[in-house]
């Protein structure tokens, strides 16, 4: 019954504790390990639809950006290849749409200018690009069909969102295909125009080109000249365009000999080579008579003083703290020194502008609110005539300087107390000035201010607390004034001794230590105490035995037996004997073992007891006789036993035990 009661109550309490958890509102999260994968074909097709819109808008950067995120899409593993193929094909389509449009525009110009020689290779290029585009569209469509099968689109109703989204994607792919077909049509029209130009018997023109000088510096003027002829005869008063890297930079008009000349300035583009060509194309009434002609390319060797700028910077920077860098540069080829303008940028922000002709060392203060992390330090020098621009970049890792603290906090502390404290706060950038140093102990805080050399001192007072002895923590907080130094939080364990509480506690313990032993019997303590005090008389009277609870009743009886005259003689004799045996045991420190007879025990005490053993042996014989013979004890036996006891007692005294 009792066990059942304990068991049921204990079980109920444990159950209440364990079942308490389900009493919850809606969960703010799920365990991701316990949920199944779910894929959304609908959202995938919607996403593709948006991407295809961007393709049709000819925004290839946006298309690329959106498709580059595809690795993060939640997709069934078996669709990885299909989505990968779709991504590649649609990216290619987006690129080709832009490319083909540009090529068609170029071809249109060439056809208009009757530039057959240039038009033919471009035409072939467009045909190849359109072929690639159609293949890419087909691959994209096949990928979508594969995905449609994977999401069982064909089993969906016609107006279901998934079916509609799928159809929309297919339609947009079809629109892209239509766009390429449109380009194809434009190409066909241009081809027709081109064929018309070729088929008409127009005269072929020739334009020659001479460039002087070939080796020039940027900014120099270049003279070009040549002749425009048709079947060796000069074409008079015709416009010849001078093109530099494909762009018209000057125009010449042919004279009566078909000779033209023009001058242009080499732009400050600091490119080592530029192509010069002369172009004639028929205009107005010439369009029905002549074909265009383009001179061979002549490469212009462009010279300039290339600037090789380099920086030596401190890799580490601190917000609000100055950083130093050294800028130096050389020119290739060697050039005369001139004063150059420089701009120094931290990330994209200009922080310093200066002009100098020599290498320089510059100190700049980093902004105090500069975000921690990597920042670029860029030095630029703008181009100056023949001197090209220069740029050099370095990276500064901006972080806060780690604050170091030195303080003489004690390892052991007595509370309540006060003591002098001093220390210093430094960082790798030097001493922390006017830094706030907060020393916290339990609930009290004391504040110090560091001096110019970073040192601080003062008196620390520890207040009375409830602690006795134990480990506590000091917390020292350093709050620097400088934005480049980091705050510091430092903890140190110390042994705290509360003098007052310890005194009270010790007093209490001592008081308890005195009271408790007096109030309660502590067996061993008292036994030891009594061993020192016991006297043979006590043993005989048996008084000392009364303090032992286990014997208390027997002892009382023995006292009575041993001293009263109305008790049976045998009981009195036995009582004398028992007391005597105990006395001997204590005096000799020899214990009566369970397997020993009384006689064996007595014989064993001879060495210690001496001649008194004979009296004890005689007493033992008397007791054995009374125990085993069935004889009744007489008064004489009682007297004898008392006498023998006295003799043994005397013997013990004599032996000094």
């Amino acid at each position: 019954m009792k066990n059942k009661l304990i068991g049921s109550v204990t079980g109920a309490v444990i159950a209440v504790i364990m079942l308490a958890e389900p009493v919850l509102s809606a969960e703010p999260h799920e365990d991701p390990l316990k949920i199944e994968w779910e894929y959304s074909g609908l959202e995938l097709f919607r996403y593709y639809s948006v991407v295809l819109d961007e393709v049709l808008k000819k925004d290839r950067d946006e298309v690329k950006s959106q498709l580059d995120n595809m690795p993060y899409v939640n997709l069934p593993p078996d669709l990885t290849s299909a989505t990968g193929a779709f991504t590649e094909s649609i990216k290619e389509c987006a690129e080709l749409i832009v490319t083909i449009e540009k090529e068609l525009n170029e071809l249109r110009v060439l056809v208009q200018q009757s530039r057959i020689l240039e038009a033919n290779p471009l035409e072939n290029q467009i045909i190849a690009d359109l072929l690639t585009a159609h293949r890419a569209v087909q691959l994209g469509e096949n990928s979508i069909v594969t995905m449609g099968r994977a999401f069982s689109v064909d089993k969906e109703e016609l107006n279901s969102p998934l079916r509609l989204a799928y159809t929309e994607v297919i339609q947009k792919i079809s629109s892209i295909n239509t766009l390429f077909d449109l380009y194809h049509g434009i190409l066909n029209n241009l081809q027709i125009d081109l064929t018309a130009v070729i088929s008409k018997s127009r005269l072929t023109t020739e334009v020659s080109l001479i460039v002087e000088p070939i080796d020039v510096f940027v900014g120099d003027y270049v003279q070009v000249k040549g002749t425009l002829t048709v079947k060796g005869q000069p074409l008079v008063n015709r416009k010849v365009e001078i093109m530099l890297n494909g762009l018209t930079v000057a125009t010449g008009i042919t004279n009566g000999n078909g000779y033209y000349e023009a001058t242009f300035q080499v732009p400050y583009e600091y490119s080592v080579s530029m192509d010069v060509q002369s172009l004639y194309y028929p205009q107005e009434q010439d369009t029905t008579t002549y074909l265009a002609s383009l001179s061979p390319k002549i490469a212009l060797n462009v010279h300039f003083y290339e600037m090789f700028l380099s920086l030596d910077i401190d890799e580490k920077g601190y917000p609000g703290y100055e950083t130093t860098f050294k800028a130096r540069w050389t020119y290739q080829p060697t050039a005369p020194t001139i004063e150059r303008n420089f701009e120094v940028h931290i990330d994209d922000v200009v922080v310093v502008q200066l002009s100098t002709a020599e290498e320089f060392i510059q100190k700049i203060d980093l902004p105090p609110d500069l975000q921690l992390g990597l920042h670029s330090l860029t030095v630029t020098s703008s181009a100056e005539g023949r001197y090209a621009s220069g740029i050099a970049r370095g990276v500064i890792n901006v972080s806060k300087a780690v604050t170091g603290l030195s303080i003489n906090l004690p390892k052991i502390m007595l509370v309540p107390w006060h003591f002098d404290v001093n220390g210093s706060v430094v960082s790798e950038l030097g001493s922390l000035q006017m830094a706030l140093v907060k020393v916290k102990y339990t609930s009290s805080t004391q504040e110090f201010r560091s001096t110019d050399d970073g040192s601080f001192k003062g008196t620390l007072r520890t207040h009375y607390t409830f602690g006795l002895v134990g480990s506590e923590s000091w917390t020292v907080e350093v709050i620097p004034q400088e934005p480049w130094n980091s705050p510091l939080l430092f903890s140190q364990k110390i042994l705290v001794i509360n003098g007052i509480n310890c005194g009270i506690f010790l007093t209490l313990l001592i008081a308890l230590g005195i009271i408790v032993p007096k109030k309660f019997s502590i067996r061993n303590f008292q036994l030891a105490w009594r061993r020192e005090k016991i006297q043979p008389e006590d043993a005989i009277t048996g008084v000392h035995l009364a303090v032992l609870p286990v014997y208390s009743e027997t002892a009382a009886n023995m006292q009575t037996l041993g001293s009263g005259s109305d008790v049976a003689p045998v009981a009195r004799i036995f009582s004398w004997y028992i007391l005597l045996i105990r006395l001997v045991q204590r005096a000799t420190r020899i214990i009566l073992k369970p397997h020993q007879t009384l006689r064996e025990f007595v014989n064993g005490t001879r060495k210690t007891l001496g001649p008194a053993t004979d009296y004890l042996l005689e007493f033992t014989s008397l007791v054995e006789k009374l125990l085993y013979s069935g004889e009744q004890a007489s008064d004489k036996d009682v007297d004898t036993s008392e006498q023998l006891t006295r003799q043994v007692q005397d013997g013990l005294k004599h032996e000094g035990t």
Binding site: K2, L5, I6, V9, T10, V13, I14, V16, I17, M18, A20, E21, V23, L24, E27, P28, H29, E30, D31, P32, L33, I35, E36, W37, E38, S40, L42, E43, L44, Y47, V50, Q66, N69, Y72, V73, N74, L372, K400, K438, K440, F466, L468, I479, S486, P487, L488, L489, N501, I504, F505, L508, V516, K519, F520, T541, V543, A546, V547, P549, S552
Partner: protein, 301 residues
């Protein structure tokens, strides 16, 4: 044995077993530092050496070196709102991570315009396993993380573009009617889920999903790097304080908290002395009731 003795023993045994269970059975409640299961924050807490705050009364005196993380699933009292405002205004950093709780109460009190939507933000495409786990791949400015995974998150409103730290993908939407499908009228597209702004001398970081920090999520993708980024420069050693006083707690958690509180009180010297005295007096009374002789017995004459 008498009935009242049996009842006393049973009561004592039950109390002892209960206390042991409360002490040793780990918490399974959401966001508890002591919870080592999937939904606790033990891993994160250990990594950033977070200190548990059972009450906002225990906040550090100097907020300049502290970061308070609060997950408000219980309402703030006026006093608590004032305490947090004073903490932030004094230079502290508050990381308020909420999805469906009482975050807006605090945002309103702090006087900022940012608000939690309070409804789930789902993304059926850019997600991990299901739309409840949106993948975030757009961050401003970019950090040492490319991808974080949310778990039952919400979006933020009234956030300036320059305040936004993380955006959801275009395919995400706010499931206002909670039917797990995007419907006409529901907001869809890039949505801010984390933002940072200044309040007074301090900083307020708002995140639409506290579950980023739970044991099972913290090591997914770059979640830990992201949360670390939110906590600021690792060179600046700051106290990370985790407010558990606004989390709904099970009786076990409440009991644990109370037991720890009682233990802390009892471990101080005065209650300890009082306990010793009570035991001493009790034992004395018991011994005296048993009676018997003490000391040397007087001899019978």
């Amino acid at each position: 044995m008498k009935v009242h003795n049996i009842l006393f023993i049973v009561l004592a045994a039950v109390t002892a077993v209960s206390l042991l269970c409360v002490w040793f059975v780990p918490s399974v409640q959401n966001f508890m530092i002591g919870n080592t299961m999937w939904n606790g924050i033990r891993v994160f807490s250990d990594d950033v050496s977070a200190t548990q705050l059972d009450t906002l009364d225990n906040m550090q005196e100097d907020p300049g070196t502290s970061i308070l993380i609060s997950v408000p699933y219980l309402q703030y009292s006026t006093d608590e709102l004032e305490k947090i405002q004073s903490f932030v205004n004094g230079g502290g950093t508050l990381l308020l991570a909420d999805d469906y709780g009482y975050g807006n109460q605090l945002l309103e009190h702090l006087g900022v315009t940012i608000r939690f939507d309070g409804k789930p933000v789902l993304d059926p495409l850019f997600c991990y396993k299901t739309q409840w786990f949106p993948k975030i791949i757009e961050f401003t400015p970019p950090g040492d993380f490319q991808l974080i995974i949310l778990n039952h998150a919400t979006a933020l409103h009234n956030v300036l573009a320059e305040q936004v730290i993380a955006w959801t993908a275009e395919s995400s939407y706010i499931d206002s009617n909670e039917n797990l499908t995007w419907d006409e009228g529901e907001i869809k597209g890039r949505l801010p889920v984390a933002a940072k702004t200044s309040v007074g001398r301090g900083t307020l970081i708002v995140v639409g999903d506290p579950s980023l920090m739970i044991n099972t999520m913290i090591n997914y993708a770059d979640n830990f790097a992201f949360v670390n980024h939110l906590l600021g420069d690792p060179n600046e050693k700051k106290n990370v304080l985790f407010d558990t006083s606004h989390l709904s707690q099970t009786p076990l958690d409440t009991s644990k908290t109370e037991l720890i509180r009682v233990y802390d009180v009892m471990a101080t010297p005065y209650p300890l002395v009082a306990i010793i005295l009570v035991i001493f007096i009790g034992v004395s009374i018991w011994v005296m009731r048993i009676g018997g002789a003490v000391g040397k017995q007087p001899q019978n004459s």
